[in-house]
């Protein structure tokens, strides 16, 4: 194991990175979509390095057997290469986690820890929304238009949002989505309170739903009173968790 230590570590790490980026969409639970090519390249490079380390470990041993005594010094040096630094064994933790039990996407627990609040950028007008009967819109986009748009671009539009369910006090419930910029460590929350007769029997926490409805104005624009925004729901359907569980900024 000593001789092949770094080979094993490099292959494990590379394999884990490739497993989540090349063979599936799992990487979207952890990092943003644009990182994929870099992950694939890094994973492949790590595999190559691991193979190189394994080959060197093997040929080194042959070399040793052939000329056992003369090259003890070189062997010392060779070892400092091939059984990498001890701290490197920590890499097995995330690598095995990704290979065996990939951790789930962040959900209601993370959303509840953080007060959902948008950047206070002040009120203003927004670019016009695309035409169409039912408008697919992100939870973050809906929230910022509902709270900050002096042009009321949501007025009279039927919108559809996808997110997971979180519960507030007094039976209120929200469609919630986390926004990730770089990796899951920087996740921020946006949420929309669901009202209307359809909203009466609230789905369970962390269920993924697609909600169609119209905007219910509330509070004065740009103040805490306008938060969280409301949606008068006409249909609530359960859906599968989307491949990318987070919204982009």
């Amino acid at each position: 194991m000593r001789r092949y230590g770094s080979a094993v570590l490099l292959l494990l790490t590379g394999g884990a990175v490739l497993r989540i980026s090349l063979f599936g969409d799992l990487y979207l639970r952890y990092v943003q979509a644009a990182l994929r090519p870099y992950l694939v390249v890094s994973g492949s490079l790590l595999i190559l390095l691991g193979v190189a380390a394994a080959v060197r470990g093997m040929s080194h041993r042959d070399h040793q057997e052939a000329q056992a005594q003369e090259h003890e010094e070189e062997e010392e040096e060779g070892h400092s290469h091939s059984h990498g630094p001890r701290i490197a064994w920590l890499l097995t933790l995330p690598a095995l986690a990704l290979l065996l039990f990939p951790p789930p996407a962040l959900g209601s627990y993370s959303a509840s820890r953080e007060q959902a609040r948008l950047a206070a950028q002040g009120v203003g007008t927004f670019p016009p929304l695309p035409a169409g009967k039912v408008l697919d819109i992100s939870v973050a986009q809906y929230s910022s238009r509902a709270v900050y748009d002096t042009g009321h671009s949501l007025k009279g539009r039927t919108v559809r949002m996808t997110g997971f369910v979180t519960h507030g006090s007094n039976g209120t419930w929200y469609v919630t989505r986390l926004v990730v910029t770089c990796c899951a460590a920087d996740a921020t929350t946006s949420k929309v309170e669901i009202r209307g007769t359809e909203a009466d029997d609230a789905p369970q926490t962390d269920t993924w739903v697609a909600v169609t409805g119209t905007w219910l104005p509330k509070g004065k624009l740009g103040t805490d009173g306008a938060w969280p925004p409301l949606l008068d729901a006409t249909t609530v359907t359960q859906v599968k968790q989307p491949a990318d569980p987070y919204e982009k900024r």
Binding site: T13, A88, Y109, C182
Partner: protein
């Protein structure tokens, strides 16, 4: 005769590789079977939502760090294997007081987050660059590269002063730290990375590959350590603590500067996190963005691994103070 020998050697190598693959594969399958049978029983009890969130944030920080760390180690191994000893000493002025700002401004060229800059700085030192200049580069590279500045301008639309403030305050911190090291730094605090590694007979490509493997594994271990610390704080520190301090602008600046250390948000994303911290003064947000790429738990772990623990603690704490001071000054002047 010679030919026969290499063929036999090759065959032996192939057979051995196959035996190892079969044995290793069997062992792995056995482990995987046991784990997948016993694992779920244990896991159901232990896998509460906070634990699950910890694992997700932990792997996320590690996964997102891997490409940048690899970029950094590729650059540093290339410097170690292919760039002749004299190049940097000739490029940089001999006078350290002059070399520091030049090295700091050169940070613009490394488009990565902070994981990439530690191995590069250490290989620069191995190649004879004065530590003061290499440290200025280490601090400025993740903070002032174009990717980070563009991200900042997107996060703060219509506030070009925020981008300018970040550039000025970060560069000032890096240069001041370089000068401080040139004046007060002691060689014995800095456990320079083993320079002997590339001196033996292997050179060129072989040295490059060996350096790459070693540097990546070494730094990767510390990245995992830092990721664990970041995930722990990310889950343990309630965000509502932020609301207590928004009242006092002084306290809030210090609080955000501390938050930058424990959250370990990568420098390409920290502008968005800063922008989402509503209720804080612009100077406090600036401090968050200046401190973040220079001092955080992940970075302290990486530096401790590369330059030694006593260096990492001294250097990081001083950098934190300088960064807070410089963002206070710049914030008061610009924002």
């Amino acid at each position: 005769m010679q030919n026969e020998r290499t063929v036999v050697d090759g065959l032996r190598l192939a057979v051995r590789a196959m035996v190892y693959a079969v044995l290793g594969g069997a062992a792995l399958t056995a482990i995987a079977t046991v784990v997948s049978v016993l694992g779920p029983m244990l896991a159901i009890d232990l896998y509460t939502p906070p634990v699950a969130a910890w694992w997700t944030v932990f792997t996320a920080v590690a996964v997102q760090g891997v490409p940048f760390l690899l970029l950094g180690t590729v650059v540093s191994a290339a410097i170690g294997a292919f760039v002749p000893e004299q190049v940097f000493t000739r490029l940089l002025p001999r006078n350290q007081a002059l070399a520091v700002p030049i090295a700091g401004a050169a940070g613009v060229v490394l488009p990565g987050c902070e994981c990439a800059s530690v191995p590069v700085a250490s290989s620069l030192m191995r190649r004879g660059v004065a530590p003061a200049a290499a440290l200025a580069f280490l601090l400025s590279a993740p903070a002032i590269n174009p990717v980070v500045l563009v991200a900042t301008s997107i996060a703060f639309p219509g506030q070009p002063k925020m981008v300018l403030g970040r550039l000025v305050a970060s560069l000032a911190t890096a240069v001041v730290m370089g000068w401080l090291w040139a004046r007060f730094g002691r060689e014995e605090w800095l456990r320079l990375p083993k320079g002997t590694r590339t001196t033996h007979s292997t050179a060129g490509v072989q040295a490059f590959v060996a350096g790459l493997q070693h540097d990546f594994l070494h730094a990767g271990g510390f990245l995992v350590l830092g990721a664990a610390a970041a995930a722990t704080f990310n889950i343990a520190v309630p965000r509502s603590i932020l609301d207590i301090f928004t009242g006092s602008s002084w306290l809030s600046l210090l609080l955000l500067a501390l938050l930058a250390v424990v959250l370990c948000v990568c420098s390409e994303a920290d502008a968005f996190v800063a922008a989402s911290l509503s209720g804080f003064s612009p100077a406090a947000k600036l401090a968050f963005m200046v401190v973040g790429p220079m001092v955080d738990l992940k970075l302290i772990a990486l530096q401790a691994g590369t330059f030694g623990r006593s260096f990492a603690l001294r250097f990081s704490s001083t950098t934190w103070l300088v960064a807070v001071a410089s963002s206070t000054l710049v914030g008061w002047w610009l924002l």
